[in-house]
């Protein structure tokens, strides 16, 4: 039972991180029908920004809480700037071209960001400081859950609630939903679609950055390649849940997280990815649009 609980919570942690990234994929897809392959790189840039900020602040002698907050805030700001600029440079000019063009541009951005960080930093794994405080009352349960996992799960929960409130009740949230459902009509009621698209990239980038900082702090090391792997997994989760669907992305992420965690724990860690992607194939056979995706009939 304890082993099961450990795997369950481990899966929930993974799923939370996937969800933070997958939401960026799914929201961008919902608005402009683009698979933003460079999204994982934004997450990686978030982690690197936090590492640099944390190192500098540490030398300057700041306390751990200050370091955590400033590293998180600056990681979010930096990632947003990258996400925003990426959309303006790589996707906006291609908005009226064939659907393949922005996709290739996205792959290009992904390769560019990876190599940019590789050149600017290093190809080696860098140790990442544990920014998240240790919770003492959890010590007796250390074999089931670590403090950092608690922080990851709780932060993700808070972010999800905030995102839901934003989408449901705010003016920009309504504009985002309307744009996702019918972009031309959104223009006709006066929505500035460019602003909605930029906002979507900014929201997606912030969540990815938060995820990047949390997981880097949990695992304790980063390199330029982490965004690619996490990105592919989160993208899988978004497809699993139904690309374009926000609850779908969260559900898909949790399902993927648990599948990996249980497969690793009960069968073999060598087969982690086999199970993750095997499960994806299985679900797509029976539900081609994903768990919560809508099968839309295209009108001709």
């Amino acid at each position: 039972m304890e082993y099961f609980l450990e795997l369950f919570l481990g899966g929930l942690t993974r799923g939370s991180i996937y969800a933070l990234i997958a939401l960026g994929y799914t929201m961008v897809y919902g608005i402009i029908e683009l698979i933003n392959f460079a999204h994982g790189e934004i997450y990686m840039i978030g982690a690197f920004t936090a590492l640099i900020v944390a190192s500098v602040l540490n030398i300057m002698g700041f306390g751990p809480i200050t370091i955590l907050i400033l590293a998180m805030v600056l990681a979010v700001v930096y990632s947003c700037a990258y996400g925003f600029t990426m959309e303006k440079i790589a996707y906006k000019p291609l908005r009226h071209s064939t659907r393949l063009a922005p996709l290739i541009s996205a792959i290009g951005m992904s390769i560019f960001f990876q190599n940019y960080v590789l050149l600017a930093q290093t190809s080696d794994f860098l140790p990442f400081p544990s920014l998240l405080p240790e919770l003492e009352f959890l010590e007796p349960y250390a074999f089931i859950i670590r403090s950092s996992e608690v922080f990851i799960i709780l932060t993700t929960l808070v972010v999800m609630v905030l995102l839901t409130l934003l989408i449901k009740f705010t003016r920009i949230g309504k504009a985002m939903r309307a744009t996702a459902q019918d972009r031309t009509m959104a223009m006709l009621v006066g929505v500035d679609v460019n602003r909605v698209i930029s906002t979507t990239f900014i929201i997606g980038s912030s969540m990815a950055a938060i995820g990047g900082v949390l997981i880097a702090s949990h695992i304790g090391q980063i390199n330029f390649y982490i965004g690619f792997i996490a990105g592919i997994k989160a993208f899988t989760a978004a497809v699993l849940g139904g690309i374009g669907s926000i609850p779908g992305a969260v559900l898909g992420s949790l399902v993927l997280g648990w599948t990996e965690s249980f497969a690793t724990g009960y069968i073999s860690s060598d087969y982690e990815d086999v199970f993750a992607f095997g499960f994806l194939v299985l679900i797509l056979i029976f539900r081609p649009a994903g768990l919560l995706g809508k099968t839309t009939t295209q009108k001709v």
Binding site: Q181, D182, T184, L188, V189, V191
Partner: protein
């Protein structure tokens, strides 16, 4: 109120409008009739800035709008009820109406305007919390018109409001269109394939063919015109 001067609009390399010139005066109901693919909807989309014309000029109350983005044009008071109604399917009826008032900031006025359209179309009040996509065609058309009214337009563009609706519903919709024109002094530009119906409510009409205006006259004259009768009225 609206002056369109020699606009040419393209979709890629395909020219949809080959020099359209028309004029709409304050308080009028103007109709634009023509067959499938004549460029009627493109004319409306060009006025709204969604498919901006490659050349030519459009003036709204003296302001040039042919280079403006759609949201600025909406802000000036031009609203469109597009072909096929384009209700936001996942938003509730109430949210659809609120989207219509997207550029307005007067919460109180928006609320009273929602009540006003609920008076105009009581069926929408019953369905206020239902998703827009679940409404029937007639209800969606009512919602589409109401959504446009929520912006308090000075010029209302209607694209094929009769399309796919039962005759009784069409009659009801056209009653409302006349009412909007007389009661709130909203100028109306009505695009229709149902020429007979359109010419009966309109003051003046334009006939369009292959991206060009081929005729323009008072609605009564067009109704009596032999060519129009043969081509569009099925007489």
């Amino acid at each position: 109120m609206l002056k369109v001067r020699d606009i040419r609009t393209f979709y890629g390399n395909i020219q949809a409008l080959k020099g359209i010139t028309l004029e709409i005066a304050e308080g009028e109901i103007i109709t634009l009739i023509g067959g499938n693919g004549a460029g009627k909807s493109t004319t409306l989309m060009s006025i709204c800035g969604v498919v901006p014309p490659r050349c030519g000029e459009i003036f709204f109350r003296g302001t040039p709008i042919h280079d403006m983005s759609p949201e600025k044009i909406v802000a000036l008071g031009i609203c469109q009820v597009p072909e096929g109604r384009r209700i936001f399917p996942g938003l509730t009826v109430k949210e659809n109406l609120e989207m219509g008032a997207f550029l307005r900031r007067d919460a109180q006025g928006i609320k009273s305007d929602i009540d006003h359209v609920f008076d105009l179309f009581p069926i929408l009040a019953q369905r206020r919390n239902q998703a827009g996509g679940t409404l029937s065609g007639g209800e969606q058309q009512m919602l589409a018109i109401s959504r446009a009214l929520m912006a308090r337009p000075k010029l209302l563009l209607l694209d094929e409001p009769s399309l796919g609706l039962a005759p009784l519903i069409i009659q009801q919709i056209f009653e409302i269109i006349k009412k909007i024109n007389t009661e709130s002094k909203t100028t109306i530009f009505l695009v229709e394939q149902n020429a007979n119906l359109a010419l009966k409510v309109a003051h003046r009409g334009y006939v369009m063919e292959n991206g060009l205006i081929t005729m323009s006259d008072s609605a009564a004259n067009l109704l009596g015109n032999e060519d129009v009768k043969k081509a569009y009225l099925g007489l």
